[in-house]
Symmetry: none
Subunit: 194 residues, 4 copies
DNA sequence: AATGAATGAGGATTCATTCAT
DNA sequence: CATGAATGAATCCTCATTCAT
């Protein structure tokens, strides 16, 4: 997977993996370089500093998720698609034995106040994701599949918040049970608005 | 507030503040000692190492929250009490300009796989908190204030997940709007079960 | 000024500016290349290594000063010319707010013992400059405009030393006052020998 | 000489030696620590960063020179004392085979615009030194040993400038000849004012 | 004549931890 | 209870130089 990609790509992908596992501070530049088989100089050749690499990682994540190259995609067209959305996150956690959380949540949580540029990049991804969910709910409502009182934006916010909280709580408790029950409740709630 | 407390207390409280702000890795022992006006020796006298301090911080947090010394307390006895629960977290975020997240969520997210002891301590807090919420819902249900199909445990999980996700998303987006809308939806849902 | 010069010229001129501002070690090859809009390959094509670039800079400086292309020229033919000599250096310092010193003094001071080749190049420039001053004093003495006891070589040395010391002290004190007073004393002394 | 001094003293003295030989940038912290048999931590324990060490070095130099612990002292009380002043610098250069310059001149020349705090410290030393020379000339003048037209401050400036320029030119030319002749001219000039 | 990818040594700094007093 | 000296690993970053195209 990292075979003959460019050094830059290898660095970004290795960084993503390590940031996801241990957060930004927990992943050293040296380790990222070792994993991506690149020298120190390659790092500063392509990135101003570690923050520059973080930004590249966030941009990369946003790009692959937006383009739907990744499992947890956001191109819902039916209620069935949507009902599987939480499931994909829960499935991911099960695959990794609940040792990880959401990569962007992890990165976002690790940022400090002086990294506003990075924070905005992470926020931009969440804005887009929430908008995808909101668009779906708005379409369903326009099709008469949601009651008049349903607020598409608020429903989207609820889903995002439950997803992020669920991913984090799964990591901390090493179990998806909590996440699954919370997701079920959300689905019940939304079904009650149909 | 840290005036004539013992050196140990001052260290724990300073560590809590800094861990909350910047995560475990982001707060150096030196800085914690400086803030708590303590020397290196005091540190190793009271704690085996940095992990020992983290554990003390988690225990301290659990203690003050369980004992209700802190605003976001868990001693609900009425629907009104409960409805204010999210509000206290949202109010906290507003006070700190959305620059922080939940201290235990932040700490929990920062832990690595080899810090299982600490993870269990954090989990223990969440288990307790969730149990408080579940107890409240069970009591309401026993009092006939929740429909038969309502699952107290699942509702508690939903609340915890929304609280954690909401705190994190507020930090990342520097706004409580998302959190507020998600919390409103949860309250609407629960009201619909009454 | 660096518009359509050759890459080599641009590199030498950029290096001169940066060496002058921050010394040899303070100016990185990368920065010099960026400023001269040249690539890494251009650098190694024209120069063996950084020392080779330094040598080219010293040669360039000597060439432009010898050829009189630069303000502080050494083609004195009258006492008036000479009396303006210190003034040109003082004027330069004022223009640059005393943030620089003599470029060759700065470069010479930065050299280490293993850079003897470069040191000789710098020395060669100072030998030539001193010789110009000495020639002038010798001519004046031959014309009967200096007393018998006046030593043209010693006077030239005094001028060079005061110029270098004055440039350095102006940089350190951020003022030309010291330099101006010292130069005035030298001029008084020389006038007393006429 | 560095035997059982404190680690801090050893670091400062080693730094002085290396800064004197190769300038600030030319002396790495690692090398200074190796020479002073101190670990990395000792460095940051005592100094904020490399600039902090430079400042300590400048302060140390100023202290030992002011207190007269060093050869090139500034406690003139007679013309003989004064006439030996240049000689001590010239003698120093001969001892070190003209491989060094004035330590404070070297340090001062190495400073960049963002090191204003350090520059002021260096300037402070030169202000003091110049004041010592000026005081001496003023006393001589008061004693009727200098003509009315002699300006003590200007003479002091001349001496400082010749000393700094002489030290630098000696290093560059690897010879004290220039410095000696310039110093002789200054002494001749001052004698002519007696 | 030109580009920029790649390398790796070295430099400054931070940090957790131990130890002597 | 308390101080702070000392250690050395690790981290982030800079830089001169080489090489393939």
């Amino acid at each position: 997977m990292e075979a003959k990609n460019s050094a830059k790509e290898r660095m970004v992908q290795s960084a993503l993996e390590l940031f996801h596992q241990r957060g930004i501070r927990g992943a050293s530049v040296d380790e990222i370089l070792k994993r991506s088989r690149a020298g120190k100089g390659q790092f500063s050749h392509y990135f101003k500093n570690k923050d520059g690499l973080v930004l590249a990682v966030v941009d990369y994540l946003e790009a692959i998720i937006r383009s739907g190259q990744v499992d947890s995609n956001y191109s819902f067209s039916s209620w069935d698609d949507f009902e599987g959305w939480f499931g994909r996150y829960i499935g991911f956690q099960k695959e990794v034995d609940c040792e990880l959380s959401c990569p962007l949540g992890t990165i976002g949580n690790d940022l400090t106040n002086d990294q506003d540029h990075l924070r905005r990049a992470v926020k931009s991804f969440f804005d887009w994701s929430t908008a995808q969910l909101a668009r779906f709910f708005a379409e369903r409502k326009a099709a008469g599949e949601l009651v008049e009182s349903a607020d598409p934006d608020a429903l989207a916010d609820l889903c995002m918040v439950v997803m992020e909280g669920g991913m984090l709580m799964s990591k901390i408790t090493r179990s998806t049970a909590l996440f699954e029950r919370a997701a079920d409740q959300v689905l019940s709630y939304i079904r009650s608005l149909r």
